[in-house]
Symmetry: C2
Subunit: 311 residues, 2 copies
Amino acid sequence: MSLLTVGTVAFDAIETPFGKTDKIVGGAATYIAWSASFFSKKVNIVSVIGDDFDMNELALLRERGVDTEGIEIKAGKKSFFWSGKYHLDMNSRDTLITDLNVLLEFNPVIPDSYKESDILLLGNIDPHLQMQVIEQLPKRPKLVVMDTMNFWMTDAFIGKLKEVIQKIDVLAVNDAEARQLSGEYSLVKAAKKIMGMGPKYLIIKKGEHGALLFHSNEVFFAPALPLEEVFDPTGAGDTFAGGFCGYLDKSRDISFDNMKRAIIYGSAMASFCVEKFGTERIKNLTHKDIEDRVKDFIDLVQFDITLEDEE
Amino acid sequence: MSLLTVGTVAFDAIETPFGKTDKIVGGAATYIAWSASFFSKKVNIVSVIGDDFDMNELALLRERGVDTEGIEIKAGKKSFFWSGKYHLDMNSRDTLITDLNVLLEFNPVIPDSYKESDILLLGNIDPHLQMQVIEQLPKRPKLVVMDTMNFWMTDAFIGKLKEVIQKIDVLAVNDAEARQLSGEYSLVKAAKKIMGMGPKYLIIKKGEHGALLFHSNEVFFAPALPLEEVFDPTGAGDTFAGGFCGYLDKSRDISFDNMKRAIIYGSAMASFCVEKFGTERIKNLTHKDIEDRVKDFIDLVQFDITLEDEE
């Protein structure tokens, strides 16, 4: 089984109340690939970087079974760079710098060796590029998952975004984005409207408040683990999506019940991501760490009620 | 088994985006008693009202096994009246009117027939009054639970509030209040600090985001049920506390594991409360309704993961 993802591979500079970094490696596809690599046998990345990128970072990914053939390296160009500063509550941030650089001329090309991938995860990127990826695949993957954000819900992109949404199986957005996309404040109503736009499954990410998975008339709730400190939230959503898709890929089961498990694994991966800057924590995980963390999630929500009719 | 509660029995006038009410019956002890009455054999209320109160409401409570002997009726005086208007998101509200009326001269007196109550639930009220109730009990109840709010965390009350907190087993506050009381943003750190002030258990209520139960180094998370509409949040926290304590009282078990179940039952009761104005919905519940709703909570969070060591 294999997972194909498209998204940014980039540099970030991050400031949080706990400290700040110089340029470190980031980008949605980076987080997705690291996270999924703990589950998927083969993760195929499509992205673009400049020749200023730290090529050793790609070697580290390859050691984990990530295929980087689809990462185009543009000679003489600079990699995408984002810099941001988080507020005290860590739920909001200001973007300080966005240098699109190579992203301005990104034309995703899917290598032939990627074309039979079982699961496609469209990372958060311009929906025009997400559509180009879908259109290059000779046959539809078993599951198409899309992560996106409010930036693409504006006039210049919303039309294409809705076209892509029609073609996917699972959409992942946060609660504010679900409200914006649907025009509904109630998340239950928002979910119904958004599933009416195409996807059979909707994941609503609520950060420290967990995540909801909607499907037809069913809903599943996965909590976030209460943490002593959230050190750096950057990449948590991508890490979640990578763990979710990686788990589905590994277990070869895209049923609703297995998606529940996948959401717990994705949440566990995201809970590690925020413990250190950038990819530092997820780079150093063991499978034992992950299983222990999933056990924490089980303990967190497990209760034992025997229902009885009392009237 | 029996439950003793102290709190307001009052009139409310409520405006939400869905409509507004004239004076309807409200008050913390009213919601607590209605909610607990589905579990406890006997709920003992200590409160104060004016002779303007709708005495038929007390009769309705008595029909459900609620003892109203401890509700003092002040002749020629008016009942406590609160009026508020909720904002569109239902998470914030403006208080329009607070007429303390009889509450200004409330001197809680515990009838002898209440003094052997097994569980004491101190509803959200001036901590000086909460302390007076504790001091009138000849022996300590098996469990003392306290609900409070940010209003009592100000200079005039915080000293007494902390004295009461020293004497209780379970404190229930919302997330903002836990942060205010502890001076910690992280809820995990806040919980440790607050448990250091006395209570062995801390419930942090997060409204639409569920509730956390902390005890020693353990934590349990109960979700809120995603609802199509929250019609009127008034009394949801009291209804939660009443269901929580009522369930513990009925099941005669105050272990951490049983508190998890009690939090699910409390959350189920609160999810009904918000469906209509005031006490309207919880007045008309059946045990079957409650069991069905608890089943919804089980379905919402239930997943099945078999852990394995993979390395």
